[in-house]
Structures are given as C-alpha cells and as structure tokens.
C-alpha cells in the first residue's frame, strides 16, 4: 500500500487527544496515532460506503444502457393502501 504525505489542520482538542495517546505510550508518534484514528473512523463508515458504491453502480448502469437501472413495475399498486 503506497503512502503519501498529507498536511492537515486539526482542532486543538483532537490534537490534545492524539498527544495523550502518544504520551500514554499507545503510539510511538502523532503520525501513528492519527493513522490509527482515521482507520478506525473509516471502518465505522463502511456500511455507508457500501451503499454509496451501490448508488454509483446503478448510476453507471444507467449511463451505459441509456435507461433506468431498474423499473418499478406495478409499483403504484403496491403502495400501502392504508
């Protein structure tokens, strides 16, 4: 996995947390701590990412065929009648 240098500004409260984690010896550097925190956050977003990929695939499907990705045949009749 390639690595790239990223410069980012952080809220001082978050940076305090990062420094605390480093100070407690959980990570060897700010960089290690931030990488871990971002990975943990991204993992929590995975269900949303799956759905986002699904939406994009449906939009791609429509672009490639020129018609909707699916039809809702008989859909109005299936709406709840209550």
């Amino acid at each position: 996995m390639g690595k790239k240098l990223v410069t980012l500004k952080m809220d001082s409260e978050v940076l305090d947390l990062v420094d605390s984690l480093v100070g407690l010896g959980l990570f060897s550097s700010r960089s290690e701590a931030v990488k871990w925190l971002i990975r943990a956050g991204a993992a929590g977003l995975e269900p949303l990412a799956r759905v986002a990929r699904g939406v994009n695939k449906l939009l791609e499907l429509e672009r490639s065929t020129g018609s909707p990705a699916f039809w809702l045949r008989g859909g109005v009749e299936r709406l709840p009648s209550c």
Binding site: L59, F70, L72, G75, V76
Partner: protein, 171 residues
Amino acid sequence: MSYVETSVIVAALDPSNPLREAATRFLESEGVKLVSDPVLLDLAYTVSGDDELLSGIAERLGLSRGDAAASMIIYVVKRLGLIYRSARGSVRLPLLGDTPRPIAEALVLAAQRLGYRRLLHVAYARALREEGNPIYRFVTLDQGFEDARELLRDTGIELVVLGGSSASPPG
C-alpha cells in the same frame, strides 16, 4: 417548490403505468421538488415488495438485500433530481413533551380519516411548509388526496392531482 408524493415517482419508473408520461413531464419540469421521510418509507416498501427485483439488483451490485434496497432508494431520489428534506422542528404537547412537528400535525389531523399513509404525507408537507420551506404545491397521482385539499390549502399549499384515477393506489 413542490412536495412530491410517492405515486408520481413510482409511476415515472413504471413503463406500464398509463400516467408515466404525465409523471415524467412533471418531474422534468422547472422548480425544486421536495421529498421527505414518508416518500423514503414508501419507496422502501415498494422496492422490498418486489422480491425478484430486489434480489436481482442485490446480486448485480454484490450487496446484501438491505444495502441494495438503500442504494435503490437513494438512486431513485438522485436520478429524478429530488431534494430530500426532513422536518426537524418539534412541538411541545401536553404530557408527551417535545414531539416531532409532523407527528404533532398528524395527531391533530387524524380526525380527518385520511388513512395512515396519506395522513403522514399531508402532515409532513404542512410541517415542512411551517418550517419555512416555500412549498406551494403538493403533487400526486392519488385522487384519494382530494380529501386533504382543504387541509393543504390552510397552509398555502395547492393540491395537484396529475392525470386520472386509474393510477391511484387502492384504498
């Protein structure tokens, strides 16, 4: 700005619906078209009610049926250029305390006997309007909403029923 009821959206994606053209023409017309929580719930019900469709899309996307259903609903909203907005305000009711504004509206309107689904749509449209969204039209294919015409007009929203009665859901 128009509040779009689900029947318009579903008809636009049903090649066999006689009102598809009218629905599509409206959806492609100028103006902001708003949908809210009841529309998403209706779409979830519609999508999950067609087992073959949902399974096919889930397989094609390589997703679980739940993730596929969510993807399909968001795709429909995005594809048709609809804006999703939820009513965020609340109303303090006796004994109940803070209650979401659309639910408070629905409690007040319940005596009109619109039926559960229609009641929710009308309550959300009114609540969204009261929260400052300039909704001036409620657009549907369902003639059953005629019973709510005055309730909508009370808050400055005009009911627009596209086409005839053939596309109205039963009930």
